[in-house]
Subunit: 432 residues, 2 copies
C-alpha cells in the first residue's frame, strides 16, 4: 500500500475525486513524512503544521474543488507567500513577512493547491554555497541548488510538487541530483512577479514533480500555450537530436554514460536519434550567460548593498560591486548575441521532436556546495523550455538525469515528449 505522500499529484487527485482521499489526509501523510525525515533532509525554511492542516480542512470544505485540490506544494523561500515569511536565506530579510502572494502562488491557490511551506535556498537563490538541505538519497551530498529544499522535499515525498527558480541551473540541476522531474518553462511563460530577482533576462520560475504528467497538470493550471497546435506524439519514428552542448568538456563519466544509454533506449524504442552540433556562435553562450548574469545581478543587488552592506554575504556583495567588472558594452554584446542565437536555435530545433542534452556534470557532489550549472546556463539564456527526466544512476548509485529542450513556446509539446520518454528512462535507465 502506497502512502498518500508518495502519490503523484495526478494519482492523488484521482483518489480525491472518488472520495478515497482528502486534502487533510494527504497533508497529514506529508506532515508525518516530514516528522520522520526532516532531521536528515532539512529541506524546510518555514513549515507550520497547524496552518497546513487548517488550510487543508478549509479546502476540503469547499463546494467546488479546484484542479489542484489539496495538492501539497512547497515554495522556494525567494517566492512571496501571503501567509508565511519570505527570508531568501539572508539575514537582511530575517523575519520579513510581506503579506502578498507571488503571482504563481496566487494562481496555484486559485486552483485549490495547498501551499505547504517554504523551502531552503542558497542566499538570494544565488551563490553555490548551500543552505541546510541535504540530498535525501545520501545526506553527505548536496541536493543541488539554488532550489535545494524544493528538490529535496519532493524527492523525499514530503511534498507532492514544488516551486523553484532558475537563473543558471537552479531548477534542472537539483532535479537531476535528486532523481525527480523538473521543468524550466519558456522565459516569460509564467509570471515572475513576487520572485526575488537575480538577473532580469534569465530568471524563470521552476517546477518540480515526480512525473511528467504532474508537470503537464501544472502546465494546465499555468495556462501554458504553445506556438503551434500540439499534435499527438509517439516515440516510434520520432526525431530526437542528441546535443552534447557547448559545455560537454565539463561532463563526467556518470553523465556521459547516461547520455549514451539514453540515446540507446530511444533508438530501441524506434526513435531516430541524430547528433546535433550547434553552430559556432553557440560556443560563446556559456560565456555570454556568465556576462549577463553578472551584469544584471550588479543592478539587482544595488538596493541591498546600499541599505545594509554589513548583512550581505561576500559573494552577493561581490555581485553587487560588479567584481567581474562587466561593463554595459559587454552586457549588451552578450544580450544581443543571445537574441540572435535564440532565433537560430528555434529554427534548428524545429527539425526535431526534442533535443536531448545533459542536466548536470554528473552525480550530486559530496559536501554542501551545490554543484556546477555549466550544462544549464545556455538553455536558460536561450529562453527555451527544459524538462529534466530522471532514471539513470552514476557509479555511486546516485541519480543522473537528462534534459529535453525544444524551441521557445513549445512547452506543451515538450511535455508530451517527456511523458513518453520519462517512463522509458525511469524503467530502464539504470539497468545493468
Amino acid at each position: 500500500m502506497v502512502r498518500a505522500n508518495e502519490l503523484t499529484a495526478t494519482h492523488a487527485l484521482r483518489l480525491m475525486r472518488t472520495g478515497d482521499l482528502s486534502a487533510e489526509g494527504l497533508a497529514q501523510a506529508c506532515l508525518e513524512r516530514v516528522r520522520e525525515r526532516d532531521a536528515a533532509v532539512r529541506g524546510w525554511a518555514y513549515l507550520d503544521p497547524e496552518l497546513v492542516l487548517r488550510n487543508a480542512r478549509e479546502l476540503d470544505e469547499r463546494e467546488v474543488k479546484g484542479p489542484l485540490h489539496g495538492i501539497p506544494i512547497a515554495v522556494k523561500d525567494v517566492i512571496l507567500t501571503e501567509d508565511m515569511p519570505t527570508e531568501h536565506n539572508s539575514p537582511l530579510y530575517k523575519g520579513s513577512f510581506p503579506t502578498i502572494d507571488a503571482s504563481c502562488v496566487k494562481t496555484l491557490r486559485a486552483a485549490g493547491a495547498l501551499i505547504f511551506g517554504k523551502t531552503d535556498t542558497t542566499e538570494f537563490a544565488s551563490v553555490t554555497r548551500g543552505g541546510t538541505a541535504r540530498n535525501p538519497l545520501d545526506p553527505s551530498r548536496t541536493p543541488g541548488g539554488s532550489s535545494s529544499g524544493s528538490a529535496a522535499v519532493v524527492a523525499d515525498f514530503q511534498a507532492t510538487i514544488a516551486l523553484g527558480t532558475q537563473t543558471a541551473g537552479s531548477t534542472i540541476r537539483p532535479g537531476s541530483f535528486c532523481g525527480i522531474y523538473a521543468m524550466k518553462p519558456t522565459w516569460g511563460a509564467i509570471n515572475r512577479e513576487g520572485l526575488k530577482m537575480l538577473a532580469l533576462s534569465l530568471d524563470t520560475l521552476g517546477l518540480y514533480a515526480r512525473s511528467a504528467e504532474d508537470l503537464d497538470l501544472l502546465a494546465d493550471v499555468f495556462a501554458l500555450e504553445d506556438r503551434h497546435h500540439v499534435a499527438p506524439f509517439t516515440l516510434r519514428g520520432a526525431r530526437v537530436a542528441a546535443c552534447r552542448s557547448p559545455a560537454w568538456d565539463k561532463v563526467e563519466p556518470a553523465t556521459r554514460g547516461a547520455f549514451e544509454r539514453g540515446i540507446g533506449l530511444l533508438r530501441e524504442a524506434g526513435a531516430e536519434v541524430e547528433p546535433l552540433d550547434l553552430p559556432p556562435a553557440f560556443s560563446s553562450l556559456p560565456e555570454h550567460h556568465a556576462t549577463v548574469m553578472a551584469g544584471e545581478a550588479h543592478v539587482t543587488f544595488l538596493s541591498e548593498i546600499r541599505a545594509q552592506p554589513e548583512l550581505l554575504n561576500e559573494d552577493i556583495a561581490a555581485l553587487a560591486n560588479n567584481s567581474k567588472d562587466v561593463g554595459k558594452s559587454a552586457l549588451l554584446a552578450a544580450l544581443d548575441a543571445a537574441a540572435e542565437c535564440r532565433i537560430a536555435f528555434d529554427t534548428i530545433a524545429a527539425g526535431y521532436d526534442a533535443v536531448l542534452t545533459p542536466s548536470a556534470r554528473g552525480e550530486a557532489p559530496k559536501g554542501t556546495t551545490t554543484g556546477d550549472a555549466a550544462l544549464n546556463g545556455i538553455w536558460t539564456l536561450l529562453h527555451t523550455p527544459v524538462v529534466q527526466i530522471p532514471g539513470f544512476k552514476g557509479p555511486s548509485d546516485m541519480p543522473v538525469g537528462l534534459s529535453l529542450t525544444s524551441p521557445r513556446y513549445t512547452d506543451r509539446r515538450l511535455l508530451q515528449v517527456a511523458k513518453a520518454i520519462g517512463p522509458l528512462f525511469e524503467s530502464r535507465g539504470s539497468e545493468a
Copy 2:
C-alpha cells in the same frame, strides 16, 4: 522668495548643506502645498502627513546625511513601500499593505530620501481610463497616465521628485502633458523588483523631476552606468538627429510646432540637426509593441483573473483573456524583430549626440482618459533611454515637450545633453 516646495532637489540640497533648510522644513512646505491644492489636483492615493513629518525629523537627526537627504519623493501606487499600502488603484488590492520596499524605494531610502506618499495611477498602470488625478495646469484635462499622480504632484510642487513606470508611454507622456522633466532609463538599468508587472520585456521604472540636474542626481543614486566614458558636451557643434518617429501621422499641430521650433533653437545654438529616417523594419515597431504588450500582459494577469475575476475591470479582464488573440508565434516574431531593431538603432544613434523625437501627440486632452502612447511605445520596445524636456506650449497654452533618446546604456551621456538642451527649450520654447 521661492517657497521650499518649489525648489529643485539640487537647489534644496544646497540649502540643506548650508543649514538653511531642513528635511522637516521642506516636508512642511510640501504638505502645505498639498493642503492648498489637493482638492483640485487629486494626485495622491495615500498620504499620511504625520508619517511624513516623523520620517523627516528622523532624517534630520541622522549624523550622516545621504545624497538625497530629505528630498520628498512621491511613489506611483504600483510600487511597493514598506510603510504605506500599495493598491494599484484596483479593488483586488484594496487595503493591501505588503511590508517591503521595492528595490528602487529601498535604494532611495538608503540615500536619505523622504518617501512622501503614494500617487494615483490608472488601474495596474494599465488601461487609459484615468484615476482621480487632474492636470494641475488645467483641471479639466488629464495629467496623462498611467503615472498620473506622480507627474501631477511634481508639476504642482507638492513633491520634488516622483517615481512612475513605463510600459508604453506612462512616464514620458504625462511629463509632456504636465510640463516637467521625465526619464525612462535603459531597460534593465534600474532594478524593477517590487513594481507591479504589466509586460516583462517592456516595464521600466520612470523618474520625474523639475530639472535635468535632478534627473542626473537620481542617476547617481541609482548608479546608472554608460557603455562608454561620458565626455563633456556642448551644444555648439553637437550633432542631433530629428526623428519624426514611425508614429508621426498621429502628431497634432501642437507637437509639430514644438518639433520645428526645437530644431530651430538647436540650430541657433550651433548644433547640426539632421533629419533621421529610420530603416523600413522600424515602421512595424508600433505594431510589435502592441503585440508584445498584449502577449505579455495576457501572462501577467492570469493570477488576478483566476483569483478574483469579479474584481477585475473589463479592460484588464480583456488583457488577461487575450482578447486580441496574440499567439506565441506572433509574440516571438515581435520580440525577435525588436531585438534586431535594438542592435540596428544603437548603431544608427551612435552617429549623433542625441535623437530628438516627439513626447506625445499634442497637448493634454480634455477629460479623464489619459491620452495616446503612440509616440512612446517604440522607444520602450527598443529599450533606449528617453528624457522628456518641457518648454513648449500648444494652442491652448498647455505644455508640450520633446523627447531625447540615444543608444541603450548611454543614459548618463543623454542627461548631459538634456542639461544643455533643457534650459534652452525652457527659456525660449514658448516665445511667440
